[in-house]
């Protein structure tokens, strides 16, 4: 069968997401980094001295730490050619009318205000380095829920901020966490008070508009005892020939009995290096879910982690990756069991096409004395052609005997027989392939709110002619 006709995944990216707008820059640091650039950013933001020192300390760590000696080749990143801070808006707006027109146009095209009206409890929009809009539903605000930019939280909720900031991902954790800690700007701060359930999702959207920009958002989510929240993030960027760097740090703290779900639909243009550290602490009886989909970027390295630090804590991690021509998705998940009776589940599903490469890289670690731990890892890879590659690298470090650990992996190809079967029912080859791909990701899609499921299917799939109405 003709492989060229198979599934034109993301072929409409340029039109739908790959555009850029001309905006007036309010602040921009000169290219490259130095302690002066760090101080300049801190001063633009009017930060307390401790944060300036935190940043400078992190910059030292960044310089000291070597590049990762494993995983994809990152030698093409030219750190001297990156702009580390660029802001196009003076103020953060609480109403879309107050967002500068060109920036608002961008988010209109991406459908963000529309989604906010329909099904979101709160929305935050980041444009290059700064959050330009954030709004939380009033009833939730009254219940004490906080949803704002991380910069704003530093000013308005300094005690809460200082208590939790960088406690999950220290600035010296790894080279890119150090980079983020030095230059962080924007990102979301979420606090859900005790026993408050946020009934519908909060969403953040991260947009890179400028060339050769470093976006370093920093997100901190604190779910107090017995609370519940679902946070969703999306992102995209213009299809410039010169790439950008996105190095985020996300910290999640699920206190006793809290339930946090964190969903990512990563859809960067194919020129972005996406090197992200995401980690959660799950206290006693807490549940943390990472639903992490990576279909964009040139290279992604991201391994959402849960440290199960309290008894009966539970981690559910699902990592979905698509790698097309020129893309490397080096993704996975980590579960670190530090208390007895904790459970974790890791499901990884990846599709490679047109020479793309996906790697599942994951860790399950059980500390000594953590009895009755249950962990299950499942990795499925689907290759759409002969040129594409998939690897599975599952690390296990089990230091306790009374545990139950499972691991399954499979690599498959879309078979001629399967296509023939579906085509014998009247589906074209493209429709049949699309159906197989959609089915392969179904375990992820069905976890999404309906609107996102539709969007996700649209992102990974060509249009299904004569499809279900």
């Amino acid at each position: 069968m003709d492989n060229n006709s198979l599934l034109d995944i993301r072929s409409d990216y340029d039109e739908k997401f790959g555009f850029n707008v001309d905006v007036k820059t309010v602040h921009q640091t000169k290219k490259g980094f130095s302690p002066d650039v760090v101080k300049e950013i801190s001063s633009i933001k009017n930060e307390p001295e401790w944060m300036t020192q935190f940043r400078l300390h992190a910059l030292e760590a960044f310089l000291r730490k070597p590049m990762p000696k494993w995983g994809p080749d990152l030698s093409n990143i030219n750190f001297d050619n990156i702009t580390y801070y660029l802001s196009a808006s003076k103020n953060k707006a609480k109403s879309w009318e107050d967002v500068p027109q060109e920036i608002k146009n961008t988010f209109d095209r991406l459908g963000i205000p529309e989604s906010e009206k329909k099904f979101l409890a709160g929305v935050e929009a980041q444009f290059d380095s700064e959050v330009v809009y954030s709004k939380l539903r009033e009833d939730l605000e009254k219940l004490g829920v906080i949803f704002c930019s991380t910069d704003q939280a530093l000013k308005e909720h300094p005690e809460l901020f200082k208590k939790f900031f960088a406690t999950v991902v220290p600035s010296e954790d790894n080279k890119f966490a150090a980079l983020n800690s030095a230059f962080w700007s924007g990102g979301s701060f979420v606090y859900v008070p005790k026993n408050v359930h946020v009934p519908i999702p909060l969403q953040a959207y991260f947009r890179i508009n400028s060339k050769e920009l470093g976006q370093f958002e920093r997100t901190l989510i604190i779910a107090d005892e017995g609370s519940r929240v679902h946070y969703i993030e999306g992102c995209s960027a213009p299809s410039y020939s010169a790439g950008s760097l996105h190095a985020a740090v996300v910290e999640v703290i699920a206190l006793e009995g809290a339930h946090v779900r964190y969903t990512t639909l990563q859809n960067w243009s194919n020129n972005v290096y996406n090197l992200v550290t995401k980690r959660a602490f799950a206290h006693k009886n807490a549940i943390v879910e990472w639903l992490d989909a990576n279909i964009g970027s040139r290279i992604t390295m991201k391994f959402p982690s849960v440290y199960l630090i309290g008894e009966n804590a539970k981690a559910d991690m699902m990592s979905i990756a698509f790698a097309g021509h020129g893309q490397i998705q080096d993704t996975g998940a980590k579960a670190v069991h530090m208390a007895p009776n904790t459970t974790s589940s890791i499901v990884s599903k990846s599709i490679s096409k047109g020479g793309g490469r996906t790697t599942y890289r994951g860790l399950v670690r059980v500390e000594k004395g953590c009895t009755n731990v249950k962990s299950n890892v499942r990795c499925d890879a689907l290759l759409l052609d002969e040129n594409s590659i998939s690897d599975t690298i599952p690390y296990m470090a089990i230091n306790e005997k009374k545990v139950s650990i499972g691991h399954e992996a499979s690599v498959g190809k879309i078979g001629e027989e399967q296509l023939f079967y579906l085509m014998s029912r009247g589906l074209s080859e493209q429709e049949a392939t699309g159906l197989i791909v959609r089915g392969f990701f179904d375990c992820f899609t069905k976890q999404l709110p309906l609107e996102y499921a539709v969007e996700f299917n649209r992102l990974i799939e060509m249009e299904m002619e004569g499809s279900v109405g």
């Binding site: 399967q418 079967y421 014998s424 029912r425 009247g426 589906l427 049949a432 179904d442 004569g466």
Partner: protein, 244 residues
């Protein structure tokens, strides 16, 4: 009147000729049974009719309502009204039976009417309601797979259906359900059927108008139901001998 004509068909798989000059005509309203020993080319014929890329027609024609379909892709043949009930239906994870049926059928029907029709057919085939929410053939028992194929046939309403060993591995109750499904499909819309089978059993429930015995890629004998009885008594050796 729908008519499928197979004329002097030669089919090779991996350069080995399996079908060696086979001719057969099936009209709507007719039931044909194709019987023959293992390796005689029965399944090869069904794959060649549906246009499997590895089954190469080297000579001869297949006409549907006078149109040569050999240049058509599998899905185009399906759209014309040809249907193959697979001996070994394939699993498609993550695709629910009901979504698949909707995708495969034309969109002219409203979702409500379509849903109703699927339900009626499921009832007729004694299929549990939860079936429609399961993933296509994923974890199905042998019997469920066969009944699932008949359900697809009933919902998609083809004009000519080929049943490739729809009876294999079924107990008598399941066999009756399958046969009932086929008979019902024939009464509700104009349908011609080609039943490929080893055994007489299914033909007790779906009465063939014509029986063909295929040996070594050719039809050696055609007749009525009496051929089946002779086969049951004497086996295929008889057919071989008569030719020799």
């Amino acid at each position: 009147m729908n008519i499928l004509e197979i004329k002097n068909l030669h089919v090779s798989v991996n350069d080995k000729e399996i079908i060696k000059g086979l001719s057969l005509t099936i009209r709507e309203g007719e039931i044909h049974a194709l019987m023959g020993p293992n390796g005689s080319g029965k399944s090869t014929l069904s794959y060649a009719i549906m246009g499997h890329p590895r089954y190469v027609v080297t000579k001869g024609e297949i006409l549907f309502n006078g149109q040569n379909i050999l240049e058509l892709k599998t899905n185009e043949r399906a759209k014309l009204g040809l249907f193959l009930c697979f001996q070994y239906p394939l699993e498609v994870q993550g695709v629910r039976v009901t979504n698949f049926l909707r995708l495969a059928s034309s969109n002219e029907e409203s979702v409500v009417d379509f849903g109703k029709r699927v339900k009626e057919n499921m009832k007729l085939l004694k299929i549990n309601e939860s079936f429609s929410n399961r993933y296509l053939n994923d974890g199905f028992s042998g019997g469920e797979k066969k009944v699932g194929e008949i359900l697809q046939m009933a919902v998609l309403k083809p004009k000519i259906a080929i049943l490739d060993e729809a009876d294999s591995g079924l107990d008598i109750d399941a066999l009756k359900v399958v046969a009932n499904g086929v008979n019902n499909a024939m009464t509700t819309s104009p349908l011609g059927v080609l039943i490929i089978t080893h055994y007489q059993r299914i033909l007790d429930f779906i009465k063939p108008d014509f029986v063909h015995i295929v040996v070594d890629g050719k039809i050696k004998k055609s007749g009525g139901k009496e051929l089946v009885e002779k086969l049951e008594e004497e086996g295929y050796a008889w057919a071989h001998e008569e030719i020799a």
